[in-house]
């Protein structure tokens, strides 16, 4: 049977062309990996109806990939997934057009402060907020949100990693010198606390704002700042050339400026992406490597007014593994 499929178009629409001729997979993106249980039933319905094998893969980016769908069913499936798209709150230009522009990857998140005692913010809510700001977009961006410095969401493997922080507030009049915070910070975090004259001293240079002291305190001498803070790590990546961990750029930053920076970076990429990039996909980090961090900063910081307490690293050096440099492979 003749089968005329515009593969570029369906790929852009979040479908995958699979190994098996005539078949593909339907990708369902769930920002922050957070959904009402009823969505599971909707996904099941689609899989039951269209998947030849009835298999679903839970993707590493917190989506569903319904396997073994017939490429010829794609127009129908695109319409059928509309209720799911609405239920998970995805940005769409027009309804019934599926996930338009899927180059920017699903924004993943750890479980966050809805559940986790360590998390410093609602990660899935922020993931959704960023989703609204940057989608639909076909440039290859990866963004992830994690509640605390434990980084369960592995955000340092992303172009933009957002790590929750809190500025610990200390009320010495409630402190009973039990040192639960000192011990907690030492064993679970960076050891930023010490005791002087029976009261706690926080080394502000060392402190990473994880909030362990706050959770350990039995009297509410330590509390979280009302304001929520974030660390922004940038240009981490996996891949075949030079995988590397994202490095801290902003510490004690705020949500609005981080979103602004991500949006600005899209303009930067539009300007500097290699004309030879296959399917216009090039990791932002490589572009920055090419044009220089100073130039990137100019673009990224446009219209950004950081809070006085935000620390910005002047320069960032990434290393990671260079597969192109084989000399590193011999001893």
């Amino acid at each position: 049977m003749a089968m005329d499929i515009n593969t570029k178009k369906i790929k852009r629409n979040a479908f995958r062309v699979s190994k098996k001729r005539g078949y593909g997979a339907c990708r369902i993106r769930v920002p922050g990996g957070y959904l009402d249980s009823k969505v599971l039933g909707m996904v099941q319905e689609i899989a039951d109806k269209y998947s030849a094998t009835g298999k679903i893969h839970l993707t590493t980016r917190q989506g569903f990939e319904i396997e073994d769908i017939r490429l010829t069913d794609i127009p129908e499936i695109t319409r059928a997934i509309q209720p799911i798209i609405e239920a998970v709150g995805i940005n769409q230009k027009d309804p019934y057009t599926g996930y338009t522009e899927s180059g920017t990857r699903n924004i993943s998140a750890c479980i966050g402060n809805n559940v986790c005692p360590f998390a410093n913010y609602n990660t899935s809510a922020l993931a959704r907020k960023i989703d609204k700001a940057i989608f639909p977009n076909d440039l290859h961006f990866k963004v992830a949100c994690t509640g605390c410095s434990n980084d369960c969401a592995k955000v340092r493997m992303h172009d933009f990693g957002i790590i929750g922080m809190t500025m610990p507030q200390y009320d010495p009049t409630r402190c009973i010198s039990c040192e639960a915070c000192v011990k907690g910070c030492k064993s679970l975090s960076v050891g930023a606390l010490s005791i002087n004259n029976y009261k706690i001293v926080r080394d502000t240079e060392k402190c990473i704002g994880c909030g362990v002291c706050v959770t350990k305190c039995p009297t509410r001498a330590w509390t979280r700042s009302q304001k929520k803070y974030y660390k922004l790590t940038i240009m981490g990546r996996t891949g075949k050339k030079n995988p590397r961990l994202g490095q801290d750029w902003l510490v004690w930053a705020d949500e609005e400026n981080i979103i602004k920076i991500i949006c600005n970076t899209y303009r930067f990429v539009e300007q500097y992406i290699s004309p030879n990039a296959p399917a216009r996909k090039e990791h932002i980090g490589y572009i920055i490597d090419r044009v220089g961090f100073e130039e990137y900063k100019k673009w990224a910081l446009e219209g950004v007014e950081l809070m006085p307490e935000t620390i910005m690293k002047k320069c960032i050096y990434w290393n990671g593994i260079h597969f192109t440099d084989k000399s590193a492979w011999t001893d």
Partner: protein, 329 residues
Amino acid sequence: MGYQFTKAEANALFQQWKERYDVYAPMLMKGEGCFSDTDIVRYGQPDTLEDIEWAKKSDYSFKEVLLSINQTLFYFTEDKTIVPNPPKKEILIFLRACDMHALTRLDDVYLKNGFEDIYYRQVREMTHFVLMGCTQSCETGFCVSMGTNKADTYDGYVKLDGETVLMDLPMAELAEGAKAEELAVTPDYVTENFEKVTLPKNLTNECFTDDIWKEFGSRCIACGRCNFACPTCTCYTMQDIFYNDNPKNGERRRVWASCQVDGYTVIAGGYDCRKNQSDRMRFKVLHKISDHEKRFGHTMCVGCGRCEAICPEYISYITLINRLAEKEG
């Protein structure tokens, strides 16, 4: 004498109280809970009646008003000691029936235990109490089992009831200038709790070796929250502070202590007589339900249920006591 006010009238009276007294009441502290975006109810100084948390039981009790978490006993220089002045203003504390009973336990320890604690007495004499009624039981309290569900020794009673406010003001100063409809007001109290507790009646030292202490104690992380939240725990430890920039001057403070936290029973020379958590658990529980009673005629525990609600390890004090009673059969 009972009164019925509109909210505005009641708040006007409340402002009058605030001029005369430092008013302390349970307040919802937004975002100050242990975990992100969680709140805590503890004592603060409300500006209006609406600032008071009327619905939820406070996580930490009123005791911190009478017994500061950190209290300077005296300042010292090379040849002098200076005792700080007592508070200038009288104090008004809003609290519930169980806590009114807890107050008698604080009095036991600080006024009737052989000698009077001057610091406590100073504040205590300046403090008056406004009862907050309970229309329904809190989740973990067992005041009915402990007979602490009703209190009648209050100086005032206030009930927010929609747009009206009911008060009973036996202390004349509180009623000064109150112009409102007079009627009989009796405090709300509960007659049933979700939790029921049966106290063991015949505890002897034989129970010291019971496995139950190990069973519960081994789960304890020695954080002290049960003690700090308890309205009847009264232990302090001493701290001598030598000021960093002039160590010849300083102050002696007493600071809340917990029998569950390391260091409580360390004596000179370093010996620690209750090293493991099982022994500490036993000490705490027996103190609450038996030892205090032997000396003062009523248990120390008033059944507010705060320790039950706050324990991060879900060690249920209620279950423990009921199990002790069951063992007696």
